[in-house]
């Protein structure tokens, strides 16, 4: 939609493509990453009965800016034995893997990068790039502990993609299409039309689906938590474990890119969950624009609802991080292969049977 808009404006395919690629980055991801780093530190502080950053700016609001300036002016260290090409490309690949998913997520009814028919398929495929980036980072560091950490992280991400995909499959079965725009449009009007409560049609199918939707939500929430390497699954990044993570050898801006990638990824999966289960950009109870008869205000409102749902799920991820201890590597694998995958399979079967009714 934005692509069409800019194409009509400028008449050049190149420019419109460029705009479409850069706009979510500039208007959304960078400010969000700035905001998310600060939110994490403030939330951590208040949960622990302390204040968090307070000195830079009013109550620490400019803290991330100070952090970025510090990271930019740091020396970019590359050891002699490192594989230079892989070392330099790895952070970029990781970032691209998480950032490319934003192209198909509908922020509001007109703010959508590209209306693909296979949006979900595209997202699943593209987030696989993250694994490549991590393995490259571990290998190019020329450090046996980084390599071990990278392999564990890759194993973790790959094993947790399976329950994610299975739950996504169950939602696709109910909707009948893979486009995220269709998902959002189906869940219009009021909050009882959301997929978490069974879907827009009021019949027996809706009420039968509700418990299985909740099970699906929990399974996909846990799996996406593991995909973005957050506690309780943050073995790759933990400092107090013996083996250091895949990003130990990185300093300065490259390290900042890894972290930017993590926060972008967090928002991407939260946005995905919000779109699939909680109505996407629709508001729970009608629009103010409809009430006051101002039609152009509706997309703005939708954008606002979408962002708040995304930030709420990001907040829940942070809340979990500061509550739970860490899982050991083999326990991590047990949770995925022995618990989440069987549960999601059974869930898929039952949802499939119900959708035939």
């Amino acid at each position: 939609m934005i692509y069409d808009f800019f194409y009509n404006l400028t008449g050049s395919a190149l420019f419109s493509g460029l705009f479409v690629a850069i706009m979510p980055l500039l208007t959304f991801i960078l400010p969000f990453a700035l905001f998310a780093v600060l939110l994490e530190r403030k939330v951590a502080g208040h949960i622990q009965d302390r204040l968090g950053p307070m000195r830079v700016g009013y109550h620490g609001l400019l803290q991330t800016v100070a952090d970025i300036i510090k990271l930019i002016q740091k020396e970019d260290i590359i050891a002699r034995e490192n594989d230079k090409l892989l070392f330099n490309i790895a952070p970029v690949l990781t970032f691209v893997g998480s950032y490319a998913a934003f192209a198909v997520i509908p922020f509001s009814s007109i703010f959508l990068g590209a209306n693909l028919d296979l949006a979900i398929f595209y997202i699943i495929a593209v987030t696989g790039l993250v694994v490549v980036g991590i393995l490259m980072a571990g290998w190019a560091s020329n450090n046996k502990y980084s390599l071990l950490g990278a392999m564990r992280s890759a194993a973790q991400i790959v094993s947790y993609e399976i329950p994610t995909i299975i739950v996504i499959l169950s939602i696709v079965m109910i909707t009948g299409s893979m486009s995220l725009m269709t998902f959002s449009e189906n869940q219009t009007q009021y909050f009882w039309n959301w997929y978490i409560f069974g879907g827009p049609e009021f019949n027996l199918k809706k009420f039968l689906l509700i418990p299985f939707m909740f099970v699906g939500l929990i399974v996909i929430y846990i799996s996406t938590l593991a995909e973005v390497n957050r506690t309780p699954f943050d073995i790759p990044e933990a400092e107090s474990e013996l083996v250091s993570g895949y990003h130990t050898e990185y300093s300065g801006m490259k390290f900042a890119i890894f972290f930017l990638a993590e926060y972008a990824n967090m928002f991407a999966v939260s946005a995905l969950i919000a779109t699939m289960f909680f109505g996407g950009y629709h508001s729970p109870f009608g629009y103010l624009g409809n009430l006051l008869n101002i039609p152009w205000m509706i997309p703005v409102e939708q954008f606002f609802w979408f962002i708040s749902k995304g930030i709420f799920f990001v907040f829940v991820q942070m809340w979990l991080r500061w509550t739970l201890p860490r899982l050991r590597v083999d326990q991590l694998m047990t949770v995925s292969w022995k618990y989440l995958i069987p549960i999601s399979f059974v869930n898929l079967l039952i949802v499939g049977i119900i959708s035939l009714i």
Binding site: V43, I47, D49, M54, I218, T323, L324, Y339
Partner: protein
């Protein structure tokens, strides 16, 4: 099978209980203070930097002997019979010139063992606790009130007095 379901159930319940605890704490006001802007007053018995009131010091060396790390160094010179050094605040007559009284605060362990034996209560702990320095030698505090020339003078006087006593004793024999 029952074990499996029990595991899932207990995991979910304990995680939710833990999350409830942390959520409650999100709304409790914080217990920390912003230190350089806000300072809480310390209790009265607090053990901070020492101070010596040289007007009351009689040079008895009790504090230096009580110190477990030997951070107090005292050197005294006996006063000549005619000199009058004055009285301390609780009426004792002073008989020694204190030529050196240094406390090395880098060594001091703030144990307060020097405060108790002092007969005139001239050494005590103050409320000062922010006294860091860049150079370690600046932490050696010199409390003696005599100037450098006066110290030399007193030592000279005493040495000459002892010499004279020796001479008069050997003359008598």
């Amino acid at each position: 099978m029952a074990e499996y379901i029990k595991n899932i159930y207990s995991a979910l319940i304990t995680i939710l209980v833990g999350m409830k605890v942390t959520l409650r704490h999100l709304f409790i006001p914080s217990v920390t203070i912003q230190y350089p802007d806000v300072k809480i007053p310390l209790p009265e018995r607090e053990r901070n930097r020492l101070y010596v009131n040289m007007d009351d010091c009689i040079g008895c060396d009790q504090c230096a002997r009580a110190c477990p790390v030997n951070c107090i160094e005292i050197e005294t010179v006996k006063a000549l019979p005619g000199e009058d050094l004055g009285k301390t605040s609780n009426g004792k007559k002073k008989a020694l010139w204190v030529t050196k009284f240094t406390i090395d605060f880098a060594k001091c362990c703030y144990c307060q063992l020097c405060v108790f034996p002092c007969p005139t209560d001239c050494i005590y702990m103050t409320y000062v606790y922010e006294f860091s320095e860049y150079d370690r030698n600046n932490l050696i505090y010199d409390f003696a009130t005599l100037t450098k020339e006066e110290r030399e003078e007193k030592k000279e006087n005493y040495r000459r007095f002892i010499e004279q006593k020796e001479k008069s004793k050997s003359e008598k024999e």
